[in-house]
């Protein structure tokens, strides 16, 4: 009954939306003037991403076909200027994605699932049932005094200078489940409830921005949502990272003697879960002494997030500082106590141990600037410093077998720095053979620095995090025939794992319907020398994606 009601609601909502859209398809949906200061406008888009994997079969997944994505979005914006002092805004979104054959049976049986809501018969990527998905933004903006404004509600706040990745952009977690580089950060950010203030100080060319962000969203929306980790014996989700498959004891181990607990005895168990395994027999195999009972401990509502950012323009520099107290948006795994429960058939009667996936508090201190150089080009730079950032560690205290190993020895805190330096050369390359637009080029160098990186684990792999991990990204773009066709090429390279990304795209925006329709074809290639280092953790997921969007 509940399902029927939900389905009926969805149909009625779509019909209602079509009533709005159909009359407006060829002309602008004009703003409605309700008074001298009052104006109401509606706008949005319908978008479809259709993508095909180019490598078939997909490793670590079933594949009856190559479909990588078939995501349809409907987004609507309301912008209501009530008066010069008061404004209301809202963004609603509905998304549908079908079940994917390549993920059939993903969800696993090993119990390391991070998101227990996965695999709801293909509904996990669709967004129409949960208010946290459908009501992306809703806020009131109030300007009590000139130069001061407060925005209250669910919204998106962007900090930072980097374009190819997130450095100073620390306010929001991301939903990384449904996309690999074909949706931009605007689409993957998870909006937050917050009170956000802006205070201008014109006498010193400055603005002060502050944010207070209680965790009012449902728990799983308070942190990054990642594609389900592939665990031994299970199918991965489309955009999950490649699993650890190397036998590298004691960090990643396997049992190749018995058919239990895994149907596939060649699958490895990564660290830290490998801590509950011990060597067995002369052949180097390992067997479990316990099973993990993984529990997610999300940040609580009262785990307040708050911070501020300054912006000043002086001497040609535009610069500022920031501070934000939040939680780590990716979990670290804490090894806990035995739970007292024992596994039943068909598993061997071994005890369960609690492993908690936690999101500890962190403080992020940032600085940034941009400046026009005395020669052509703009330089941008930013850096964040996270003192005592939590990491998973290979700390070997309590090596196997050690049922009384000290607790919480799978995580540690270390100082962490991430920085970006970029050079933009826009409009400089303008040629007589291409008069309708210049070529724009951007170079970004991003680096991560962990001064004391010993024994820190890279995600779930048997790799130590590097002390310094640089990447180099470049984007070149232009448009043709006065923006009838636009082209861009994004190239990223990370020396670690000799890995990177190549992403050419071409977009066609025909003049029909006043350019409301656009069609983009994008090829995404992720390369690396192996599956465990750098961006190689996402290699083998080459795809081509066609994005069609209709703006209204």
């Amino acid at each position: 009954m509940k399902k029927a009601a939900q389905k009926s609601f969805l149909i009625v909502a779509c019909l209602g939306l079509m009533t709005f859209l159909i009359p407006s398809y060829s002309n602008a949906f004009p703003s409605i003037k309700l008074g001298e200061e009052t104006e109401l406008s509606f706008y949005g888009f319908i978008r479809n991403n259709t993508g095909m994997f180019l490598q078939n079969p997909q490793p670590f997944a079933e594949s009856g076909n190559d479909l990588a994505t078939e995501r349809t979005w409907l987004r609507g914006n309301v912008d209501f200027k009530i008066s010069n002092q008061l404004r209301f805004g809202a963004v609603m979104q509905f998304v549908y994605e079908p079940p994917y054959r390549v993920e059939h049976n993903a969800g696993g049986s090993y119990g390391t699932i991070i998101d227990p809501a996965n695999k709801e018969n293909g509904k996990e990527y669709s967004e129409y049932r949960n208010i946290n998905d459908t009501l992306r933004e809703v806020y009131l903006e109030w300007k009590p005094l000139r130069g001061h404004s407060i925005k209250i509600g669910r919204q998106i706040a962007i900090w930072g200078e980097a374009l190819t990745t997130r450095v100073g952009d620390v306010i929001h977690p991301e939903d990384q489940r449904f996309s690999l580089a074909f949706a931009n950060l605007e689409d993957t950010r998870i909006p937050s409830w917050m009170i956000r203030g802006f205070d201008d100080i014109p006498a010193i060319n400055s603005t002060f921005e502050w944010i207070v962000n209680p965790n009012f969203v449902q728990d799983k929306y308070r942190v990054n949502r990642s594609a389900h980790f592939v665990a031994p014996g299970e199918i991965g989700e489309r955009f999950s990272i490649n699993p650890e498959t190397r036998f590298d004891p004691p960090y990643s181990v396997r049992n190749d003697l018995f058919s239990l607990p895994f149907p596939d005895p060649l699958r490895v168990v990564p660290h830290p879960f490998s801590r509950g395994w011990a060597p067995f027999g002369p052949g180097g195999s390992y067997v479990p002494l316990e099973f993990p009972d993984a529990r997610v401990v999300f940040p609580k509502v009262w785990d307040l997030r708050a911070g501020f950012k300054t912006n000043t323009t002086l001497g040609g520099f535009n610069f500022g500082f920031s501070y934000f107290h939040t939680q780590n948006y990716d979990p670290v795994v804490k090894r806990g106590d035995l739970t007292g429960a024992v596994a039943g058939p068909p598993l061997p009667p071994l005890p369960y141990r609690e492993y908690k996936l936690v999101y500890p508090n962190i403080d992020i201190i940032g600085a940034y600037f941009n400046k026009q150089l005395p020669w052509p080009g703009v330089v941008r730079a930013e850096a964040i410093y996270v003192p005592n950032k939590p990491f998973n560690t290979f700390d070997k205290a309590g090596v196997f077998p050690d049922p009384i190993a000290p607790l919480n020895n799978t995580t540690d805190r270390r100082d962490y720095v991430k920085y970006m330096v970029a050079y933009d050369l826009n409009s400089y390359f303008y040629f007589s053979w291409h008069k309708t637009a210049p070529f724009d080029i951007t170079f970004e160098h991003v680096g991560e620095w962990i001064p004391k990186n010993k024994d820190l684990q890279y995600i779930g792999y048997s790799n130590e995090l590097k002390k310094w991990n640089p990447s180099f990204n470049m984007r070149i773009s232009t448009n043709w025939l006065y923006n009838l066709i636009s082209t861009e090429l994004v190239v990223g390279y990370m020396p670690w794992g000799n890995s990177g990304l190549l992403m050419p795209a071409v977009k066609y925006t025909p003049p029909v319907l006043n350019k409301k329709l656009s069609i983009e074809l994008k090829y995404i290639n992720v390369f690396g020398k192996n599956n465990f280092q750098g961006l190689g953790i996402l290699r083998t997921k080459d795809m081509v994606v066609l994005t069609t969007q209709f703006d209204w």
């Binding site: 014109p202 409009s427 303008y430 008069k435 637009a437 025939l481 003049p511 703006d551």
Partner: protein, 412 residues
């Protein structure tokens, strides 16, 4: 007097008169239309001396993109600089000069026209005229609705709409504080522009700062709603087209080149037909947006105007336009009725014509502000027509509304 002497005297008088007729005006002896007369395909060649070079394509075949132009000539009306600004500028008369690099020498304080009353006999006339154009008076502040139609060969007409907010920090005559608003960055003026339509460009904004120090490039900040980021634009590159548009920053308002970056040559004087008070209303324009087959240049109100013809060349040898010729109203030095731009190979590239609107000022005078322009990219086959409707000198502007961080605060 002998018969021969009489003949010689008669020949001398005739030759003097002929020489005077030939050299006093390039239009003298050429036909001028009367008020009420229609100029169209059937007769434009008789009056081609009243338009910029190559403008004839509008009448001949509408450049193959629109229906051929047909215009109605009106009575010529005066079009002076606002009296208050002329009076304000009088203190500068004869005070400043031009140095070897084309800058104003003598300690110009950025208030008033730097060279009021400059005449064509001045050796630096063209450069001084352009400095007067740079420091012209249009308004203290302005809020503008801009509508642009784009017509390209074989395709549907598209259009976009935007809103502009100008804040002049110097030469303020009517809105307090006047005449100066001191800013920490020593700005001369600032422009904030936001795209309203189509949806794909909605809420895209840019902020342009122009400094008092003419040796400093403008600073430009761009807000991209798809990224929700403010990006720093490339200040020095003003010759490349703004996204999808025929215009570069130097062609904003038909001509907005930074004076010291170019050289100027006085070519001569002539008469042209231009619109100094366009009567098309905002409603007239909105009814035309996106429609094919309609006129996009105002067809009425074309007056005979006396203009100076100035050639402009960039000091940068890589500047994409080899030469630009502008036709500036002699009476006010601020209304540019036509421009023609040639590429580096000497081929005609872009042809602009502009019309103006007389906005009332609080003291009863009128300010002549650009009402719109049309640009033909002859080589590509695209026409852009823009219409600008302003609310002149609104109150309530603040410097804080024109900071780079303002773009994030206003962002949607």
């Amino acid at each position: 007097m002998t018969k021969n002497m009489k003949k010689i005297l008669a020949l001398f008088i005739v030759s003097c008169l002929s020489s005077w007729f030939l050299f006093t005006s390039s239009s003298f002896g050429q036909v001028l239309p009367k008020p009420g007369e229609i100029i169209d395909k059937s007769n434009y060649k008789d009056y081609k001396h009243l338009f910029s070079e190559d403008f004839g394509g509008w009448f001949e075949n509408g450049w193959g993109l629109v229906k051929p132009l047909s215009i109605k000539v009106s009575e010529t009306k005066p079009n002076p600089i606002p009296k208050a600004y002329l009076a304000f500028s009088e203190k500068n008369r004869g005070k400043y000069t031009i140095d070897k690099d084309g800058f104003i020498a003598g300690g110009y304080d950025y208030l008033g026209l730097p060279f009021p009353g400059v005449t064509k006999d001045d050796k630096d006339f063209a450069t001084k005229l352009m400095w007067n154009y740079e420091y012209r008076y249009w308004f203290d502040n302005s809020e503008e609705n801009t509508y642009v139609n784009d017509i390209r060969k074989g395709e549907r007409t598209t259009w976009w709409e935007g809103r502009a907010y100008w804040y002049h920090f110097f030469n303020r005559l009517y809105v307090d504080p006047k005449p100066i608003v001191r800013t920490p960055s020593n700005l001369y003026k600032a422009l904030r522009f936001v795209y309203v339509e189509p949806t794909g460009m909605k809420n895209l904004m840019f902020l342009n700062w122009r400094y008092l120090d003419v040796k400093k490039s403008d600073d430009i900040y761009l807000y991209l709603p798809t990224l929700r980021r403010v990006l720093r634009g490339e200040a020095g590159q003003r010759s490349a087209p703004i996204q999808g548009s025929t215009n570069s920053l130097d062609e904003f308002n038909v001509w907005d080149g930074r004076v010291p970056e170019f050289t100027y040559e006085f070519v001569g004087e002539q008469k042209v037909l231009g619109i100094s008070d366009n009567k098309w209303t905002e409603a007239d324009v909105k009814a035309r947006l996106g429609k094919a087959g309609l006129f996009f240049i105002p067809t009425e109100g074309w007056e005979i105007k006396d203009v100076y013809v100035i050639d402009i060349k960039s000091k940068d040898s890589k500047y994409p336009q080899g030469k630009k010729r502008i036709y500036v109203d002699k009476e006010n030095g601020t209304s540019i009725y036509f421009t023609t731009g040639w590429d580096r190979a000497g081929k005609v590239w872009k042809i602009f014509n502009a019309d103006y609107i007389k906005y009332p000022l609080p003291d009863g005078d009128r300010s002549n502000c650009m009402g719109g322009y049309t640009c033909v990219d002859v080589q590509f086959g695209l026409i852009s027509t823009a219409f600008i409707y302003r609310k002149l000198n609104p109150k309530g502007y603040a410097y804080g509304d024109f900071l780079p961080a303002t773009l994030l605060r206003l962002a949607r």
